[in-house]
């Protein structure tokens, strides 16, 4: 069994917007013998808009609290996130404090107020890195009992899973790991041109029209290239691209009804999990084809 310190992030908590993501991750972990140990009392990473009010040091201190808790409570375990924004914030904190020792000193002065200290040993990683690098493609494929044959899927990587750090040294402009995962479970990854387009991110709230233009481009391109479903590794991408389709239909007369699921939901179904295990009851746009395979 492989063990990791687990940083779930706010949106994956029970009853929040990516509740169903976490359920599918459970299935994948059980099948692949991965144990995720939740970091005790972890706090919000600040996400990508913490800079506005939080500035530099308070934002980094917030991130360093999680790193310090990982070092203290789960020593030696890599700190794994399933949310790209969390992973990015954690990695940025590590990088910045490593590059600027003065910031590291100041952060520790702040952490000392709560009896904590960040040494600089915690290693933030993305769950996909764990799957590809530690488990490997062969072992990831081994538990597949149901092929998702016949489903055409647009793999939507988006921004923060992909930039600025990226994964396994893959290209920023055309990463292929998500396509490989789609093919691994027997489905077909369709090539399309919006794989790494921004969905508007956190600005879907504050600049809805501009974000919805991005979302429209993504969904439209997926349709144009024959996809029946979009798959993503990102909570914000998932939520934005799925839930605003009805808004776009209302405002612009489109007829979008494209399911948007997580890669772990595909894996759960392929591994023989029920629709409920895979969190498919959490879709706003039903993933009917996937559900019918799960029920078979």
């Amino acid at each position: 069994m492989k063990e990791y310190a687990f940083y779930p992030g706010c949106s994956s908590q029970k009853g929040d917007s990516a509740d169903n993501f976490l359920r599918s991750i459970d299935v994948v972990c059980k099948k692949l013998d991965i144990k995720l140990n939740e970091i005790p009392d972890w706090n919000c990473c600040g996400a990508s808009i913490a800079y506005g009010e939080g500035g530099e040091l308070p934002r980094l201190a917030l991130g360093a609290r999680n790193l310090a808790l990982t070092e203290e409570k789960l020593p030696g375990q890599d700190m794994v996130s399933v949310c790209p924004a969390c992973w990015l914030a954690n990695r940025e904190t590590v990088e910045r404090l490593h590059q600027q020792p003065q910031l590291h000193t100041d952060v520790n002065l702040a952490l000392a107020e709560a009896g904590l200290n960040y040494k600089g040993t915690a290693k933030p990683r993305h769950f996909i890195e764990v799957l590809v690098e530690d488990i490997g493609w062969e072992s990831m494929k081994a538990p597949v009992v149901k092929s998702l044959e016949g489903i055409k899927i647009a793999g939507y990587v988006g921004c923060q899973t992909n930039r600025p750090f990226g994964m396994m040294g893959e290209s920023f402009e055309n990463p292929v790991y998500l396509d490989n995962m789609i093919n691994m479970v027997g489905a077909e990854a369709v090539p399309y041109d919006q794989k790494v387009t921004c969905c508007g991110g956190a600005l879907a709230f504050s600049e809805p029209d501009k974000a919805q233009k991005q979302i429209r481009d993504i969904v439209e391109s997926a349709y144009d290239h024959g996809a029946e479903m979009i798959v993503t590794p990102c909570q914000l991408c998932q939520a934005n691209v799925e839930v605003y389709q009805s808004e776009i239909n209302k405002k612009q007369g489109t007829q979008f009804n494209m399911p948007v699921v997580y890669y772990t939901q595909l894996m759960s179904v392929a591994y023989g999990g029920s629709a409920k295990d895979a969190g498919l009851d959490g879709q706003v746009i039903k993933a009917a084809k996937l559900e019918s395979i799960a029920m078979k």
Partner: protein
């Protein structure tokens, strides 16, 4: 502060940015190639692309830069950052400029992303974790009750769909997920704010 700061830098806004803005020391490295401007998803909606902002900083256009709403249009997509041939951490500079303008009180009033960033941070510090329901409600009602009810009604289809999918918990209004050591978090942030203010003073 505005006039003092300008005086301290003998009208060199570039030097002010270098001293006070997160990653601001990179601005002078820009070679004006325009790759960032062409890579920005919200590019068509910005008055000033990163390229223009960096040029304006060198030209000393302090007010225009700090009052611009362009920095607040950054979605944090990191497209510019990975493509910049000079490796400027553009995303961070844009965030740093937005924060600096916000702190000086020069950022555009009521700018929607500025508002949502403020609400997000406050929500985060108060509970240690984001309470998605309270954050969403606060956003809808940021422009007052009447506008809030209008916003909430416009989005009620989405809210109900999320509720049905069990991805929005109505009971979160009574608490929701929180950290145990909230007071520790608040102390950390207060201390970090104090140290940052001190650093800013020393830089001046």
């Amino acid at each position: 502060m505005t006039t003092n700061t300008t005086a301290a830098y003998q009208n060199s806004f570039l030097r002010e940015v270098e001293a006070h803005v997160e990653e601001g020391a990179w601005v002078k490295m820009c070679m004006q190639c325009g790759v960032c401007a062409g890579s920005c998803p919200f590019g068509p909606h910005w008055e000033h692309s990163p390229q223009k902002i960096f040029m304006m900083i060198r030209a000393g256009k302090r007010e225009e830069v700090l009052r611009s709403d362009s920095m607040w249009m950054c979605t944090s997509c990191y497209n510019c950052l990975v493509r910049c041939p000079r490796k400027l951490p553009i995303t961070h500079i844009m965030h740093g400029l937005a924060h600096y303008a916000h702190r000086l009180g020069l950022a555009p009033k009521g700018q929607p992303t500025r508002e949502s960033a403020r609400l997000f941070w406050n929500n985060c510090i108060k509970h240690g974790r984001i309470n998605e329901l309270k954050f969403t409600l606060a956003l809808y009602f940021k422009d007052g009750l009447a506008q809030g009810i209008k916003n909430a009604l416009a989005m009620q289809g989405i809210g109900l769909a999320m509720l049905k999918a069990k991805r929005l918990n109505p009971f979160a209004i009574f608490g929701g997920h929180q950290c145990k050591d909230k007071s520790g978090i608040q102390k950390i942030v207060a201390k970090a704010r104090e140290l940052e203010a001190k650093r800013q003073e020393q830089a001046a």
